[in-house]
Structure formats: C-alpha cells, structure tokens
Symmetry: C2
C-alpha cells in the first residue's frame, strides 16, 4: 500500500504582503526508498522569518524558493524507514525537510539528537538555529563586557529570548523590546531581563531611554524600522549592532534608517550576519545551549499550531508578531 505525503508548496510570490493564497496543500504518494535513503516522519516544523525573504524573487542572501516546490524549513522527527546504515528506525533527528509530513533524505542533512533532557521541539528553538543565531550575534559581534547594556528586539521570540538570557549570564544589563504588555511581562518575569519596552506603547524612544539609563553598548536587531531608529539614538560610543533580521522590510516596502550619521558620530560597528554561514561555531554554541536547556537555566516559550494545513496561517501570524516565543507546527 502506497503511503501518502502531505506537503505545502509555494504557489505564487507575494505582491507586497504575503497571504495564505501564496501557498497550496497537496497530497503526494511516497515513492519507495532508494538505497542510502532515510524516511523521517516529521513531528515539528519550524516557522522562521527568513522564509518570508525566500518567497520573493529578489537579490538576497538566499536563493529564492522555487515556485511549486515544498516550502523550505527546519524540522525534527523520527526515522520511520532507513536504507542508510547511519540511521535506524526510531532515531530522533533534526533536518531540513520543509513543510511536509514526511521527509526523504540521503541523510546528509540529518543529525541524530538526544531527547533525554532536551525536548525534540527545542532543537528547532534554543538548541537549534534560533539559539545559535542569538549565541553568535551576542558572543561574536556584540561581545559584551560585564556591566554593559545589551538591548534586543523581538525579545520574547526564539532568538531574542536567548540573547537576553545569555547577556544576563555575561553580567550585562539586558533590556528587551517586545510588542504588548503580556510579552514584556514575560520577558522580565520569566526570562529575567532587567527591563522590557513595549514598542506598541506609543512612547518607544522615551521608554527605551528610561530603560537604558547608561545608554546602549550592544544591540541585537531582529526587527528594523522604528525600533532600530530608536535604539540607534541610544547607542554609546563604540557600540556594536548585530543585524540579524529586518521583518519590517520583508514585505517589499523599503524602510529607511533615519539617522545613519549616528554610526559615524558614535563610531559604531554594524554587522549583518546569517548564522548558517558560520558553521564553525555551531558545535560550541549547541553544546552550551543544550546544557543550559537541560539544566533548565535557559527558559523558552513555544507557540504551537496543530497540523500541516495550519502552517501558512501560523507563518503569516508570526510575521505580524502574533506568536509568543518560537512558532512551531506540530505534525503528529
């Protein structure tokens, strides 16, 4: 009996704001495995802002996602069939199977993970790409010294929550920026940041100023736009800005930076980066992050959509900040 796979394809490129009409759910029969191949039943699908960039057909760091192909994405799941000696049925693996229920792979993109102390879903969050992103930007770009102030936008999210908690562990004042009182409360009370500014509160600059009495030495930028303008105006001399995401610009409209001269007058370092280009740090970062999660010293939160068919709506909601912590889709 042929098994059926369900997949979500990119059906069309967004004109401006992305919508559910840009996606299409299809059912596809699963072909028998070839020698060397592994079949994974995906349990969790990661939804990440970078995917929005791939939907466009424009010059970016990533090749555009082809039309009518499975949406790219990180996944975790369980090996259900294997003709590859490196993997056995029952292995829990992390991979890049994309938005589909079953992934078929030659194994080169799969890593077996240990779920004894770290839940499988965390390998898509604090012990996965988002965690390493935060680790890299904080440790390799911001490189904070104890006593400095580190600000991170999208602070309750998968990346931001790691940045602030690691900054606190490094002896810094950690200040988050997040959307809404509930997220801000979580950032301070559950993640342990020193302060959190609600960018929806209508007083972004004044609130940020109050939360950063000694200015800002390091800024981890996940958002761009008005939040970047406000934080730039609070930067101390020789500050460092790790530029990781600019959601505000993903829908195509350019979002100018209002006061670029501050980069000069404050002698700032601004560094854009993509964590997948720094594979050398992944082993160290994942070891540290895995240990912290296993010891419950690194908190994180997940928003879970149920079922593959709900992935597009969950993805679009995440781009609007409707998620709370790491956005996942639970497939089984």
């Amino acid at each position: 009996m042929t098994q059926t796979n369900r997949q979500i394809l990119l059906a069309s490129r967004p004109e401006g704001v992305a919508s559910v009409d840009n996606f299409r759910l299809v059912e596809t029969p699963l072909a028998p495995l070839a020698q060397g191949q592994v079949r994974v039943r995906n349990h969790w699908l990661s939804l990440d802002p970078y995917m929005r960039g791939r939907m466009n057909d424009s010059k970016s760091y990533a090749v555009p996602q082809p039309l009518d192909s499975v949406m790219i994405g990180g996944t975790t799941g369980e090996v259900v069939e294997s003709l590859n000696p490196k993997f056995k049925v029952g292995d829990k693996v992390v991979g890049m199977a994309g938005w589909q229920e079953f992934g078929t792979s030659d194994g080169s993109d799969l890593h077996v993970v240990d779920t004894t102390h770290v839940p499988l879903s965390a390998y898509l969050g604090p012990v996965g790409m988002p965690g390493v992103t935060g680790w890299y930007g904080l440790n390799r770009i911001i490189a904070p010294k104890a006593g400095e102030t580190v600000v991170v936008s999208a602070a309750s999210g998968a990346v931001g929550s790691v940045v602030g908690q690691l900054a606190k562990r490094a002896g810094c004042r950690a200040v988050g920026i997040a959307g809404g009182a509930e997220k801000c409360r979580y950032v301070v009370e559950e993640l342990g940041f020193d302060a959190c500014v609600d960018y929806k509160g209508g007083n972004l600059y004044q609130d940020l100023k109050a939360a950063t009495p000694d200015g800002v030495d390091g800024y981890f930028e996940n958002v761009g736009g008005a939040v970047l303008d406000a934080t730039l105006a609070r930067m101390n001399a020789f500050g460092r800005i790790a530029l990781c995401g600019m959601i505000a610009g993903y829908d195509g409209e350019p979002v100018p930076l209002k006061y670029p001269q501050l980069i000069l007058t404050q002698r700032l370092l601004v560094q854009g980066f993509i964590v997948s280009e720094h594979l050398d740090v992944w082993p160290q970062a994942l070891t540290e992050l895995g240990a912290l999660v296993a010891q419950k010293k690194l908190a994180y939160r997940e928003t879970v959509a149920e079922g593959l068919e709900n992935a597009p709506a969950a993805f679009l909601g995440m781009l609007k900040g409707q998620n709370f912590g790491k956005q996942l889709v639970k497939l089984i």
Copy 2:
C-alpha cells in the same frame, strides 16, 4: 614691542547652513612666553570637514567648539621662540594651533618634522591626519584582498586620494566618486584609479554599476546621502564599509539611509571611526605614507587660500566641494 596675533573665532553657531557670519577675525597682543612654552609662526592651516561638526552644539564625538574661542585646527609652522629645551628656533613643527597666525604651546601637541623630502604642507595632508585616516579605514576596516573592488567617495580629496592609491597598491580595482568631470579626470589620470564616477552627472547608480562590474567589496565613505545609498546597492556579500565622513548631514538636516536591509542581506560590516582614537597606528601609517610621498609614489593635490582672513570662505567652499584636493590656508 608687543607683537600682534591675528585669530579667527567662532562667533556664533550655524542655524542650518554655516556662513562667514559665524566667524570673527580679531587682533590680539601676544603675551611673553612662560618657561617651557614654545611660539610657532604658523605657515599652513588645515581645513577639514570635521570642523563643521564642532561648530554645532550637539551630541557628537567631539566636544563642541566653544564660542568666542579660536577655531580648532591642525597647523604646520616654524618655531620662532622657545623656552622649552625640546624645541629650538627654526624647527619645523606640526601642531594643533587652530585658525591663527601664532600658536603658543607647552610643546605637548607639537611634533618636529623633516622637510627634506616631504613638503611642510604635506604633513597636513597625505602625511598627516587625512592620510592616516585613509590608511586606517582601508587597512584596518576594509582590509582589501588583491582583486577586490574598492570604492571611495570624495575621491579627489585629501583622504579619498590616499584610499584609492593605497587600494591600487594592494592590487585592487580602485573606483572613485567625485563631483565634476575635472575631478574625475584627475582621479583617473593623475591618481591612477581604474575609474571615477561623477556624482553630478545625473546617473549616479548606473554609472557606478558600469564602473564596478564585479560589485563592490570595500567602500570608504566620506560623504553619505545619495552616494552612500547608491554604493550600498552595489555591495557584494561580506563587503566592508569604513564610515569616515557624512558631510551631507553636517548642516543639521537628517539624511536617511534608504535601504538599510542591504546590510543584512549582504552581511555587510559597517564601521564608523575617528582616526584620532587610533593613535597606535599613526607611527606605522605615517612612516609608510611619508616614504611614499618622498618617493613620489603617492600623488596629492592642494587648494590653497592665501591669508588667515580668507579661511572662513575657504572652509565653507570646501564643505560644498569647491576645493580640489586638500584645502589649506597659507599664512606666510
């Protein structure tokens, strides 16, 4: 008989565009030297864009120039009287005496220079602060590899001319941006750049694209504004931008950066810097630059205003790009 000094003071802060009314020429009697002091007859006064920033009373890297005090500035001249054993009459010195005919100093800011092979005025240009600025931004921030493309704005100026010539010596394609056909011709024919784009030509982006067929790996920014926007759009992945000057913003109106998301998508490094904060590189840089000038391997050009009274107009002209090469005032 008491000697008279002539000085130019900052009389008022500009409201928007600076004008000659912001300056005042005064005559002041010279007091007799105290023990340890040195008197220098200034021969050359350096005019530099950073002085415009000092005229404002705003947050910047430099303390604002106080009102009714002598305009700050680099100078070279000859010791005419000395009660300091480290200096003797006739010594040629570089200092920071500012916009005045005589400087009086305890000697701590003075350096004796050798004018056998390097003209005295060059110590305010390629073998002085502008030269070290170009050296630092190119070698320590852009750090170009042979075969890469380096672009510099204000390419015919004191800093830009050094950047491009050093980039050529490092095996790079050097592309200048300058205002007007005459400056562009000079940049290519006399300074040896591979190409130069006239930003007044009306086709900045298209002309820059034609001049940088392989994109841009390093950019030395002296200007900001539209020139920065255009070059940013030509940057290759992992490009480096040394942000040294933003003349376009000095008159107070903020000049936004149109496409900051390119810093992320191209994973760029942007570093603002002030060369006076990197004194550790000055000896090496000055040694290299002095040798190149002495061997006539580093070309430079000067625009000379005659007489202290013409310093304000020359300064304002320089801010509008009316100078050609290093802007100096000849005092004797």
